[in-house]
């Protein structure tokens, strides 16, 4: 029997079409919004660590102890690189394959909540050993970041805080006071700079993550304590504009010219190789400084105090653990969250990370006061001496506005291609629109 080329072509086309349709049809599987089940409380659960790598050792320890306590539950640990965790979650929300439990930071919590990927945890917390044992400011931060009123979509585990790291040996040699005030900060930045010898008083963040740091410097100096004034942001207030102008004027005058591309790794590397006098980062880089410089050559204090006598800082993201709506074993997943956020393990985890625990009992452990920078940061967050400006992490557009959309603009600002006013006006305009849209869909 002869089969013509046309017939064969048609047959091949039909088979191809059928294959495509079959694949398309079978692709309609579970996505992030699928409602899972409580499960038996036994079996395997999957946990995605949102800062995989640096925290792998401590999580391995926690999981080992958890499996010892609950021998019927096995935890599959998956480390995800921090830089890509949001895209990994987004792909899994769109295509399925979310874990049972995952590390969730407030910076992208709203995005996940808006996609209905997480379960609210209020009722579970009420009936658990964690009830009343979570630091109030972090609980508020998580609730605000979720953007759904009082609903909590993650159990806070730790918080970070902005720190001004400075070289105590260089300050001593130059006869400078610690940068506890902005006046001292600017004085030291200028005096420690000898650009011909490749020595600089400060390193400014011009690359990835620059916006939050610039906003921190602006509010820290202006003394403005609220991010919103009604429906309009205070970001482009004239006081903030003046403060930002002063701050970016340090670029090239007291910082390396290459800072225009600085992300935190380059900033920390420069500080640790000994050419920089001061660095604005957070508690997380303490171990790096310790390894590179030794305990005697550096110190870390909360951000400088403004002319008004009050220390003002912007809120740092709160890290937490979320329970995914699609989980088929929520009982076991919740047991794991409860265990990891308990006094013992929350304390150990934060000690290893150099962060501030969310568990109130863990926050009183002796290791906190053993390191000056951590102790001061913990006090700043809890004793009321510092005013925290809450950044609008709840806006689904916050990440775009504070990163991809405006980091290149900050580089233009450093290079003198736009003014501080134009820069802040642009961001303020975008934030006002995002806030309006967010309220129009029934939030706030």
């Amino acid at each position: 029997m002869n089969i013509s080329k046309t017939q064969r072509g048609r047959a091949a086309a039909a088979v191809s079409l059928a294959a495509v349709l079959a694949l398309t049809a079978t692709a309609c599987g579970d996505d992030g919004s699928e409602t899972g089940t409580e499960g038996s409380g036994k079996g395997e659960i999957t946990f995605w660590d949102n800062n995989g790598g640096p925290r792998t050792a401590i999580w391995t320890e926690i999981i080992k102890d958890f499996e010892k306590k609950y021998p019927d539950i096995k935890v599959k640990y998956v480390p995800i690189p921090i830089a890509d965790v949001q895209s990994k979650y987004d792909t899994a929300i769109a295509g399925g394959g979310l874990p049972d439990v995952g590390g969730v930071g407030t910076a992208y919590l709203a995005n996940m909540v808006s996609q209905e990927a997480l379960d609210p945890l209020n009722d579970r917390i009420k009936g658990s050993t964690l009830n009343g044992k979570l630091v109030g400011s972090m609980v508020d931060g998580v609730k605000a970041a979720g953007g759904r009123g009082d609903d909590m979509y993650s159990v806070p585990t730790s918080a970070n805080n902005g720190v001004t790291w400075y070289r105590t040996d260089l300050f001593k040699t130059a006869g400078l006071e610690a940068p506890t005030t902005w006046a001292n900060f600017y004085k030291a930045a200028e005096k420690l700079t000898a650009s011909k010898d490749n020595k600089f008083g400060y390193t400014i963040r011009g690359g990835a993550g620059s916006i939050a740091q610039a906003i921190d410097a602006a509010y820290g100096q202006s003394g403005i304590t609220e991010f919103w004034n009604g429906d309009k942001t205070t970001l482009n207030d004239p006081k903030n504009v003046a403060a930002l102008e002063k701050y970016v004027a340090l670029y090239k005058k007291a910082t390396p010219a290459a800072d225009v591309n600085n992300d935190f790794t380059k900033m920390v590397a420069q500080f640790d190789t000994g050419t920089i006098g001061m660095l604005s980062h957070n508690l997380g880089s303490y171990q790096d400084h310790l390894k590179a410089l030794g305990k005697e050559k550096f110190a870390g204090i909360p951000n400088p105090i403004g002319d008004g006598g009050t220390r003002v800082q912007v809120s740092n993201p709160v890290d937490g653990l979320g329970l995914f709506r699609s989980s088929k074993n929520k009982t076991a997943a919740w047991k794991f969250i409860e265990f990891a956020a308990s006094h013992k393990w929350n304390s150990k985890w934060n000690e290893s990370a150099g962060a501030i625990p969310a568990n109130t009992e863990a926050a009183k452990d002796p290791w906190i006061s053993a390191t000056e920078s951590t102790e001061l940061a913990a006090k700043a967050l809890t004793d009321g001496s510092t005013k925290i400006v809450q950044l609008p992490y709840y806006l689904p557009d916050w990440n775009n506005i504070s990163k991809a959309d405006n980091e290149p603009e900050f580089q233009k600002l450093l290079l003198g291609k736009v003014t501080a006013k134009d820069f802040l006006d642009k961001i303020a305009d975008e934030l006002n629109k995002a806030q309006k849209e967010w309220k129009e869909i029934g939030n706030g």
Binding site: G53, Y77, P81, A94, T265, G274, K291
Partner: protein, 306 residues
């Protein structure tokens, strides 16, 4: 007669005389024009730009090597005293031994799959005329403009439904698919350069098309196969996105994902990161060192004439 004899013996006398366009001075030096021009250039005009280029190229590698072998906390600009602590840390504690093995599996499998499929596709394009051939070539070219990230969710769903998530096979398939268009175009260019009469001679001698292809065409494609294969290997070795998205188990992850886990949210171990970078670079450097000659021949033959 002499010419015929010389031709038979393969001597120069068989070739037609070539007119010498060289200047008398060049003639005296006995070098053809292009070589003379090269010889007339002062050496520093060649070596200084090359040296500057090399400095810019090698400094990042030197930096990586320095941080990899320098003890933590050292600010020395020379790699002395040396330490292996960073290599030991990433290889043993940070599971780079496993990542390396996985990357090697993905790289070699992608190389094999890409080369085999590209051979078949390239042969069809080079030897057959069919109605949609030009359209197909255009589609292959256009597919190069589609970024991998755009296909991520559909690919993820397909692999999930095929129960292939968390399998190295999913990464191999995705990498192969994205490597194929360029590879097919390159291979078809190489095959076009092999005279079809050679194959026809083999058919006359009784070979089937497949046998003729294996016996006659394939050996002549060596530069092209090496070019395409090495490209597929290096690309899949370095590619991060598919491995990150399709593999959700620690013991399945590959070197690029492992390297990214060395950068934390607020801290980075530069020594470990540099050691990881050296480990990741070694296979690529070795591959290029061995195949450099073939690669240049391959690309010049396939890409330009394709």
């Amino acid at each position: 007669m002499t010419a015929a004899l010389a031709e038979k013996n393969g001597t120069d006398a068989a070739r037609p005389p070539v007119r010498d366009h060289r200047t008398p001075a060049a003639h005296r030096r006995g070098k053809p024009g292009r070589e003379r021009a090269f010889d007339d250039v002062p050496r520093w005009q060649i070596y200084v730009p090359l040296g500057i280029y090399l400095v810019f190229t090698l400094i990042p590698f030197y930096w990586m090597f320095l941080f990899a072998v320098r003890p933590a906390g050292s600010t020395s600009l020379v790699p002395w005293p040396m330490t292996g602590e960073h290599f030991s840390k990433v290889w043993n504690e940070r599971s780079f031994a496993v990542f390396f093995q996985n990357s090697m599996i993905v790289g070699v499998c992608t190389l094999v799959c890409t080369t085999l499929v590209a051979l078949a596709g390239g042969y069809a394009l080079a030897r057959f005329n069919f109605r949609i051939k030009n359209g197909f070539m255009l589609a292959l070219l256009c597919s190069q403009f589609i970024p991998g990230a755009l296909m991520l969710v559909p690919l993820f769903e397909i692999f999930k439904n095929l129960q292939m998530i968390n399998s190295l096979g999913s990464v191999v398939i995705a990498e192969t698919v994205f490597q194929l268009p360029l590879s097919i175009i390159l291979i078809s260019g190489f095959i076009k350069n092999v005279p079809v009469t050679l194959e026809e001679a083999a058919w006359v001698d009784g070979c089937s098309r497949f046998r003729a292809f294996c016996a006659v065409v394939l050996p002549l494609l060596r530069p092209g196969l090496i070019a395409v294969g090495s490209f597929a290997f290096v690309h899949s070795w370095n590619h991060f996105l598919f491995a990150l998205m399709f593999l959700s188990e620690q013991d399945k992850q590959t070197i690029p994902v492992g390297l990214n886990t060395l950068i934390g949210a607020d801290s980075v171990d530069l020594g470990a990161l540099a050691a990881g970078g050296v480990i990741a670079a070694v296979p690529v450097v070795i591959v290029f060192a061995f195949i450099q000659k073939w690669l240049i021949t391959g690309f010049s033959a396939g890409a330009v004439k394709g």
